[in-house]
């Protein structure tokens, strides 16, 4: 399959990322193929964070002085940037959290534990990251609700033929990833949202991999809960987002309690602030939130659809190159159903050893189960090696990956 590579000046974009300019020991270039684990940061993000610390760092919301005023303005401006980035109706529907995992736990705790009853069902599936599985296990155990699993097809997509049987009036929530962090599978969120709402269920989407690489619009289809992380979106660690419809945020219980999330505090009881403050107890990671805003500005300046198109062309090239190598199997669906993530196994070479050999050639990938033990169990795999692509990667870097795999096969004396 030939694909026209859309015009994209990747070398210019790479110059925006300081970390990509380095040479590793042995004068090797850094070939960073682990963006699904964490993304690299453009200078614009780094500079914005430094600017905060050097010029107006001060606590938000509470201060009257000019530094506090500036910092608060920057924080709330970042909140609006997130709102626009995901198409939310109001900025108050954007809760800053410490990341995807925190966001999902907040839903499981604040919505799940409050509203789930014995006999209620939560529909999951085996490809979910542990962050979108384990909190639901705990919520179900605490409330008497049951977990149901939509099976996968042999090529790692959701088996929608089984949806009628498993998504019923007993289902109260469908929890699903928009893009698998292992297989890259892009799930049909539009269909799942519509079918969930048809039976009176809500939909909770893990957007950790999808939000940085595909345009997100939480009002079309209507998504009830969306979680994602800043550090995978070219922003800093320690910051993420929970989006939820206003009505849900108003009815949910808060997760952490303390300062800022209250309206009145008496000795024996307290009342809650309105969302989003209700879910932002304590001192916000305000610098990191501003950093996230800068990351969104950067991505928007390049244009997410353009970046996505380039990443897809790189994915297609990677599939072509790697599938030619004997003994290499890329798990999951074909390129038309996935984002730019490749999890593979090589006959006779354990993913760990593969990762080690690639590392010695400056190529950074990841090996293990990638926080998806049920997924690996489903496909009878102990571990996989995962390469993930971003718009700062190049065809030459894909070639380096392919060469590394060939080298590994030679080292292990595979024919």
């Amino acid at each position: 399959m030939t694909v026209t590579v859309p015009e994209f000046d990747v070398e210019a974009v790479r110059r925006d990322f300081p970390i990509l300019q380095q040479r590793l020991a042995g004068d090797l270039p850094l070939v960073y193929l682990d963006t699904a684990a964490t993304a690299q940061k453009p200078r614009a993000v780094i500079s914005k964070i430094v600017e905060c610390y050097e010029q107006y760092n001060s606590n938000v919301h509470r201060g009257i002085h000019q530094l506090g005023d500036r910092m608060t303005t920057e924080l709330e401006s970042a909140r609006e940037k997130v709102q626009q980035f995901i198409g939310a109706g109001e900025a108050d529907e954007i809760v800053f959290t410490s990341g995807t995992t925190m966001s999902l736990n907040m839903v499981a705790h604040g919505w799940g534990r409050k509203f789930l009853r014995p006999g209620d069902e939560i529909l999951l599936n085996p490809m979910e990251h542990h962050a979108n599985l384990v909190p639901w296990q705990l919520a179900a155990a605490a409330t008497g609700a049951t977990l149901k699993y939509l099976p996968l097809t042999s090529d790692g997509r959701l088996d929608l033929d089984r949806l009628d049987e498993l998504l019923t009036r007993r289902t109260k929530l469908v929890a699903v990833t928009a893009m698998s962090n292992v297989l890259g599978t892009i799930n049909p969120i539009e269909t799942l949202a519509r079918r969930a709402h048809d039976v009176g269920a809500l939909i909770c989407v893990d957007g950790a991999q999808s939000v940085p690489h595909m345009v997100t619009n939480v009002r079309s289809p209507q998504i009830d809960f969306l979680a994602f992380s800043g550090h995978k979106l070219y922003g800093p660690t320690g910051i993420g987002v929970l989006y939820a419809r206003r009505q849900l945020l108003e009815s949910m219980d808060p997760f952490l309690a303390g300062g800022h999330m209250i309206r009145e505090v008496y000795l024996d009881s307290s009342t809650w602030a309105d969302p989003p403050a209700k879910f932002e107890a304590g001192t916000a990671a305000f610098i990191e939130a501003v950093g996230l805003g800068a990351a969104i500005d950067y991505v928007q300046s390049l244009g997410l659809p353009r970046l996505g198109a380039y990443e897809h062309s790189l994915l297609v090239y990677a599939h072509e190159q790697l599938q030619q190598i004997p003994g290499v199997k890329i798990h999951g669906p074909g390129v038309e159903h996935k984002g730019a993530i490749l999890s593979l196994t090589v006959d006779g070479v354990h993913p760990h050893d593969l990762s080690d050999i690639l590392d010695r050639r400056g190529v950074a990938i990841r090996a293990g189960h990638h926080c998806t033990m049920p997924l690996h169990e489903f496909f009878n795999l102990t571990a996989t090696a995962r390469a993930s692509l971003a718009f700062y990667n190049t065809r030459q870097e894909v070639d380096a990956l392919a060469e590394g795999l060939q080298r590994a096969r030679k080292v292990f004396r595979m024919k």
């Binding site: 042995g26 080690d356 010695r360 189960h369 102990t382 080292v411």
Partner: protein, 136 residues
């Protein structure tokens, strides 16, 4: 200072990985223990046949996982046969890593030490089973 390009996959490791020493099972082991590293899927079982002088007569291993973990288990079995349990109690992690003859990063050391950990756990529980010495 080791050359960072130097693969740990020299002949020593690869030979043990491809033609492991005593990979399999003893018909009547004196003791056996398994462990795994769930993070990466390495898994090792070690079985010992210990004679009446508390000396390891035979050591076997089984398992699956990365080349470092499996080769290390083979190297371990080869080196502990003929040693007494007391000698094995003195056996340190550093010495185990030296047996592998190749430098390993911290995360790969975990793979290299899995069989060592299995052995040590087994020795510890053997200790627990023995009668305490009489006092006074």
């Amino acid at each position: 200072m080791s050359d960072p390009l130097e693969d740990p996959y020299d002949d020593h490791i690869l030979d043990h990985f491809e033609s492991p020493y005593h990979k399999g099972h003893l018909p009547h082991p004196t003791c056996s223990h398994s462990d795994r590293n769930p993070i990466c899927g390495d898994q090792i079982t070690v079985e010992l046949l210990v004679d009446e002088h508390d000396r390891v007569k035979e050591a076997y291993f089984d398992g699956k996982g990365c080349a470092i973990s499996q080769a290390a288990a083979s190297i371990l079995c080869e080196s502990i046969e003929g040693k007494t349990l007391d000698e094995l109690k003195e056996f340190q992690a550093r010495e185990m890593l030296d047996l592998l003859k190749v430098p390993l990063t911290a995360s790969r050391q975990k793979c290299g030490l899995l069989s060592f950990k299995v052995l040590k756990t087994m020795l510890y529980s053997l200790d627990q089973q023995q009668e305490p010495p009489s006092s006074g």
